[in-house]
């Protein structure tokens, strides 16, 4: 029942095809990266006809495993010019998996100015002229729901994607049909826009969970995995109660909360934008607000919360920590309601909250937006949707914005902005920023765990010792987790409870009849990274690009007054299994 759906935007052909032998046994990131590496010319123009956009649910999609319905999006990134995998929650991953579609491969381009939408159901797929062109995500999905109904799930781009801005995201609807789970990073929305593909409608009718080679074995392993998740205090309770925003206060305390464009590691108004405050306001205001909300079917972590306005009406999903940070401390703004409005605007217009939020603070550093001026940020954000010059600039992300405004401190690696951890005070994640083939990305090897959160061991965040090994191991493990379709937050349980990883391996074996061991998970992770790095090398991104901007090694950051002192030569030992 497993198949690929190959869609050609020029000819409008939509063909289901058997999965070629070389892609057997791959899912999620392993599949998107392998397809992109094999089928996309690394030197192609990312927004041109030779790039391909690949969607793939993970290996444990459409099963009763908890938290396994994420979806990976792959392409050559217009932001980094390298390979990209950006993944998301929401319903489409599970729906595609239930239909047995292990990848959608979108090729070529429609005639410029034409917009199409892809209708997918159990036995058919076709491109029809889009009925929602020109609309942002929330209006687009509302109209599509009228047309196709509430049982479908939707994948859309907003106007930022239509404009092909390099920080444009792809939105995936959650269980309430809100387009607020995003493949945010790397400008994947611009690639979808370049193809002329405005929306994908997935009708799951007739889809079903995948057949299991060993049903009883799967059930037992899935139960063990669920137990690990519910018994760990972070995945069992903490994330549901406070969301990822819980990190604001702890990063402030640790001196790793980048403030006013990475000029300080602490923000004096941290409490006002903290997870604790968000939890309190959500409960006080009640109404449509929600603590403990899951973004996709099968999620038992439920971190995604709904933030209500003063009248109890829906305002946004709970912004992630990174969003709170970049529109907050990084931009010298301490108004939680305003930050939630920006979060919602990002979801609606369809841009990466990180690359755009960081761009806002960088524009402030360059005089393009007054420091801490919420009203000016609001105008700039509206400008993304309206296509104003400033809107297009910040909509293209941090690197472009820094260049336009002549900024000395542009926190980017390979063109992608750094997330919410100062690499001088959380050095392990600095190694990940510098070396991951994705461009600066905390999720690629989340060393904050051992540096700050005492999860999976402890490595002093202020010293250089042990950081490369920490980042290496996490990057390998993460590549595997991203391939299984698991939410990355399951890693908190995986790092602390040994049986969690064993349970995942047992689920894979029981589903597919494989005989994997824990070592195979490492091998898979290494293989994915090798594939991605090889693509980047062929695209002209050499290991000379694996470093942080020099202000991180030049300027000590308060309060610890440390610099990022891991040298480029040391960073080049991260992927030590790859022959040079």
């Amino acid at each position: 029942m497993f198949r690929f759906l190959r869609v050609n935007m020029a000819t409008k052909s939509c063909v289901f095809e058997d999965i070629p032998e070389e892609y057997a046994g791959l899912g999620g990131r392993a599949l998107t990266s392998t397809i992109v590496a094999r089928e996309v010319n690394p030197i192609c123009t990312p927004l041109g006809p030779h790039n391909k956009l690949v969607f793939a649910p993970g290996l444990l999609g459409a099963t009763n495993s908890p938290n396994s319905n994420r979806i990976s999006v792959g392409c050559k990134s217009p932001l980094t010019e390298g390979i990209k995998e950006s993944n998301s929650g929401g319903q489409p991953g599970g729906h595609l998996a239930k239909l047995g579609i292990m990848a959608i491969i979108v090729e070529d381009m429609a005639t410029e100015g034409e917009w199409w939408q892809l209708e997918i159901s159990k036995d058919s797929a076709k491109l029809v002229p889009s009925t929602v062109a020109g609309l942002n995500n929330f209006d687009a999905v509302a109209k599509l729901v009228e047309q196709y109904g509430k049982d479908c799930s939707y994948v859309t781009i907003g106007r930022a994607g239509e404009f092909k801005l390099t920080a444009a995201s792809i939105a995936f609807t959650d269980r309430e049909l809100r387009p607020q789970r995003h493949a945010g990073r790397g400008g994947v929305g611009a690639v979808m826009g370049s193809k002329g593909l405005k929306a994908i409608i997935i009708n799951p009718e007739g889809g079903k969970n995948h057949a299991l080679v060993d049903e009883e074995g799967f059930k037992a392993a899935s139960k063990r995995f669920a137990k690990a998740l519910t018994s760990h205090p972070v995945t069992g309770k903490g994330l549901a109660e406070y969301g990822t925003a819980v990190l604001v206060n702890i990063l402030h305390e640790a001196g790793g909360l980048p403030t006013r464009n990475f000029t300080c590691g602490q923000f004096e108004h941290h409490e006002a934008v903290s997870g604790e405050r968000m939890n309190q306001l959500t409960k006080e205001r009640g109404g449509e607000g929600a603590v403990a909300h899951g973004c996709m079917s099968g999620c038992i972590i439920r971190c995604s919360g709904i933030f209500p306005d003063e009248n109890g009406k829906f305002k946004s999903k709970w912004p992630e920590y990174e969003t709170l940070w970049c529109f907050g401390p990084h931009s010298n703004i301490d108004d939680l309601d305003l930050i939630c409005t920006f979060d919602h605007m990002c979801d609606d217009i369809g841009v990466d909250t990180i690359d755009v939020g960081v761009a806002v603070g960088v524009a402030m550093a360059g005089g393009g937006i007054p420091l801490g001026d919420g009203k000016a940020v609001m105008e700039a954000m509206k400008g993304i949707s309206e296509g104003t010059p400033l809107g297009r600039i910040i909509g293209c992300g941090t690197a472009t914005t820094g260049r336009v405004f002549g900024v000395r401190r542009v926190p980017c690696v390979k063109g992608q902005s750094l997330p919410a951890y100062d690499p001088r005070a959380v050095k392990g994640v600095g190694v990940t920023y510098a070396t991951t083939p994705m461009g600066a990305d905390h999720t690629a090897g989340y060393a904050v765990t051992a540096n700050i959160l005492n999860c999976g061991g402890y490595v002093d965040p202020l010293k250089k010792e042990g950081q490369i090994e920490l980042s290496r191991n996490l990057q390998i493990a993460t590549a595997s987790v991203d391939s299984v379709g698991l939410c990355l937050f399951t890693a908190f349980a995986i790092l602390d409870i040994p049986d969690a990883l064993a349970a995942i391996v047992d689920m894979l074996n029981a589903k597919y009849g494989w005989k994997l061991t824990g070592d195979d998970v490492v091998t898979l992770g290494q293989r994915i990274l090798s594939t991605e790095i090889d693509f980047n090398r062929r695209a002209g991104i050499t290991e000379a690009a694996d470093h942080l901007p020099d202000f991180f090694s030049d300027e000590p950051v308060a309060p610890h007054n440390t610099t990022f002192d891991i040298t480029p030569e040391e960073l080049q030992t991260t992927f030590n299994w790859i022959k040079k």
């Binding site: 760990h232 205090p233 972070v234 995945t235 903490g238 994330l239 109660e241 406070y242 969301g243 990822t244 925003a245 819980v246 990190l247 206060n249 702890i250 305390e253 640790a254 001196g255 409490e271 903290s274 997870g275 604790e276 405050r277 971190c303 992630e320 920590y321 905390h442 999720t443 989340y446 904050v448 765990t449 700050i452 959160l453 005492n454 999860c455 402890y458 002093d460 965040p461 202020l462 990355l488 937050f489 908190f492 309060p559 610890h560």
Partner: protein, 82 residues
């Protein structure tokens, strides 16, 4: 002189009247010159099993770490995000 205590998430519920903006100021008694982070936690009513992370002046420490006048001590339960 005194010690400034900062609490996170659920730990705040264990200390009635805790103000997250100002934190909690505790003045050690003279005979407590060798106070540890663990003893300080107990003194304000936070059981050790609730604490996963201790930071003294922004640096990770253990419950056995000494704390002194003028220090800032932060306690966290298990937290995570990303």
């Amino acid at each position: 002189m005194s010690i400034l205590i900062k609490l996170s998430t659920t730990l705040r519920d264990l200390v009635p009247g805790y103000d997250p903006e100002t934190g909690l100021l505790v003045t050690p008694k003279e005979e407590e010159s060798s106070l540890t982070a663990g003893e300080l936690a107990r003194r304000i009513g936070i059981p050790h099993e609730e604490i996963k992370i201790v930071m003294v002046n922004g640096r990770q420490s253990g419950l056995e770490s000494p704390v002194r006048d003028g220090d800032r001590v932060a306690y966290f339960p298990a937290v995570g995000g990303g």
